[in-house]
């Protein structure tokens, strides 16, 4: 009897388990049905246009005759200037014709602007409509790729060139007996080793500043910093016969920051202004102050920065003109240091430049670090010359 009762209980438990499993499966099946986007007269339509508007890429739908049926907000706003919109539309139309005919096509467009923009336009045939065209702005990705490629080339150039030169000069020196030539070779070896040393110094300074957390924050008088920076650059200015004039701000120009870092940033800007000025030119350093910020402007009338390079000058080791870089003697890290100092202080660096007319770099530093977000603003004065 006991055995029979035990068997009955066991089979009851087994049945309960089987029913529970079946119930779970049914529940899951019901959920799937509810989740599936089934449309009938009772279910509300999904706001497809709103969904497509929230996509980070442009979407255009055309019917089998190539007539546009839908365009999301990104595709409507993808164009920068009027002529760019016209060119993008022309490509969309051309590719949509090919897609309606049955071929999936992709094309990369480079619009020189300025500013330069890179777009990828893809068109795929659709069974439910004629074709779907997507427009993706890949400018940032394209630029990053270029920066990465150039960075490797620039680093190897800056680091390997002096080492290679020293090695070749030493090999030549080994077999040389003529005193005058030996002196020349040694002089050049010293020059190259100084160049190498200043690159390493700048790299170390940059990595120190990049850490940011080790900032030695104390009250810093910007008028004093500018005076010190100009004093330090005097040997270079005299060598190039460039006059550096400063106009300190009246009133309080004290900020809370790292004196070493701010001095390094201002010094780099003043050095650059001198290096890229012509002989007997004048460099101006202006300081102005408001309740919340202190602004330092370094103005030169030198070679200026080409339009194509202006948004790249803050990259490490980037050179506008590599052939000229050996004459100016810089390491290619100065403006990277400036950018990092500004980042650490929550300030802003602004550039206005025109090739052949000179450049103006403005550092805007908040009185208290971190008051504003860090930005790098670049203007090349094109807007000032629209006739």
């Amino acid at each position: 009897m006991k055995v029979f009762l035990a068997l009955l209980a066991l089979s009851g438990w087994a049945l309960a388990v089987v029913f529970r499993v079946m119930a779970t499966r049914e529940q899951k099946r019901r959920m799937l049905i509810e989740l599936a986007p089934v449309h009938n007269e009772h279910t509300p339509l999904l706001p497809v246009d709103a969904i497509l508007d929230s996509l980070p890429l442009g979407v255009v739908v055309v019917d089998v005759n190539g007539q546009e049926q839908f365009r999301n907000s990104v595709a409507r706003d993808a164009s920068g200037s009027r002529h760019e919109a016209v060119l993008i539309d022309a490509v969309i139309e051309r590719l949509s014709r090919l897609a309606v005919a049955g071929s999936a096509v992709t094309e990369q467009m480079e619009l020189v602007g300025p500013p330069l923009r890179v777009l990828v336009v893809s068109a795929v045939p659709s069974t439910s409509t004629g074709a779907v065209i997507t427009v993706e702005d890949i400018t940032v990705r394209w630029r990053l790729d270029q920066v990465r490629t150039d960075f490797v080339a620039n680093v190897s150039h800056e680091l390997k060139t002096p080492v290679g030169a020293i090695s070749v000069l030493a090999e030549t020196l080994e077999g040389e007996t003529e005193d005058e030539l030996v002196k020349t070779l040694v002089r050049r070896m010293v020059l190259e080793s100084h160049r190498m040393a200043s690159t390493i110094d700048d790299l170390l300074e940059l990595s120190r500043i990049e850490l940011g957390g080790e900032m030695d924050v104390s009250p810093v008088d910007i008028n004093d910093v500018v005076r010190d920076a100009i004093e330090r650059s005097q040997p270079l200015a005299s060598k190039r016969r460039v006059t550096v004039q400063s106009t300190p701000a009246s009133g309080d120009t004290t900020i809370l920051g790292d004196r070493f870092q701010v001095l390094s940033a201002v010094g780099n800007l003043v050095d650059n202004a001198i290096k890229y000025s012509e002989d007997n030119a004048e460099v101006k350093v202006l300081v102005s102050a408001s309740d919340t910020h202190v602004v330092i402007e370094v103005i030169d009338h030198g070679v200026g920065i080409p339009v194509a390079s202006i948004d790249r000058i803050f990259e490490r080791f980037y050179r506008v003109d590599r052939a000229r870089s050996r004459d100016t003697g810089g390491t290619g890290l100065g403006l990277s240091i400036v950018r990092h100092v500004v980042t650490n202080h929550g300030g802003e660096v602004n550039v206005r430049s025109r090739e052949g007319e000179g450049s103006t770099f403005s550092l805007t530093l908040p009185r208290q670090p971190g008051v504003t977000s860090t930005t790098m603003v670049i203007n090349d004065e094109r807007a000032d010359h629209n006739g």
Partner: protein
Amino acid sequence: MDELRKGFHHELDEVRTDLVRLAAAVIEAIPRATAVLLNGDLDGANALIRHDDEIDSLSIELEERCYQLLALQAPVAGDLRQLVAIVKMVADIERSADLTVNICKAARKIYGHELDPRMRGLISRMSEQAQQLFSAALESFEENDAAKAAAIDDMDSFLDGLQREFVRTIFESHADTRIDLQVAIQMAMVARFYERIGDHAVNIGERVQYVVTGWLPEHKGAARFRSGNDTGEFPVVQPPQG
């Protein structure tokens, strides 16, 4: 009331769109040609020169389409002015594309020669100004805006000024032996190319004024000639009706 000539106006819209696309291609080609010149980009030069064949082909097609519409649809009044103006504008746009090609060819000829920063800066400014003139011409055509079209002439005087300043800089650079004679000549020609692009944009602006108001700047000199009025005063010309 339903429009009577729906088919014709649809075709006219297509012709207008094609003209806008042609102009947009030139607006894009101007800074490209400048980049080719300033960077000594030989591949870029060849690409732009090849691209000009496409612009030539599109120009011919567009012109033929205009003649077909004129012959088959017998447009009148505003429609007629529009088609006649487009035929003339196509020539201005096509010629401007040729001038960007000329800038590329100049870049090939001076390849390897350094230009001083002042000259490079002025080239950039001429290029930007020429591009702005052409953009204004395109917008005035698209929007049928006679006032914007009239302003292009004033904008062009700024480009003319830049060209004169550039030529002075070329002479100075050549006198200081910073550039040799061949480069100086090529640069003077390049300045002329930009200046001519600006002139073509002004022409387009004048055609837009003609489409919208029926007025042509040529009426100014021609009317003076006909009336024997050599005072330089602007004679009043009544726009045609329609």
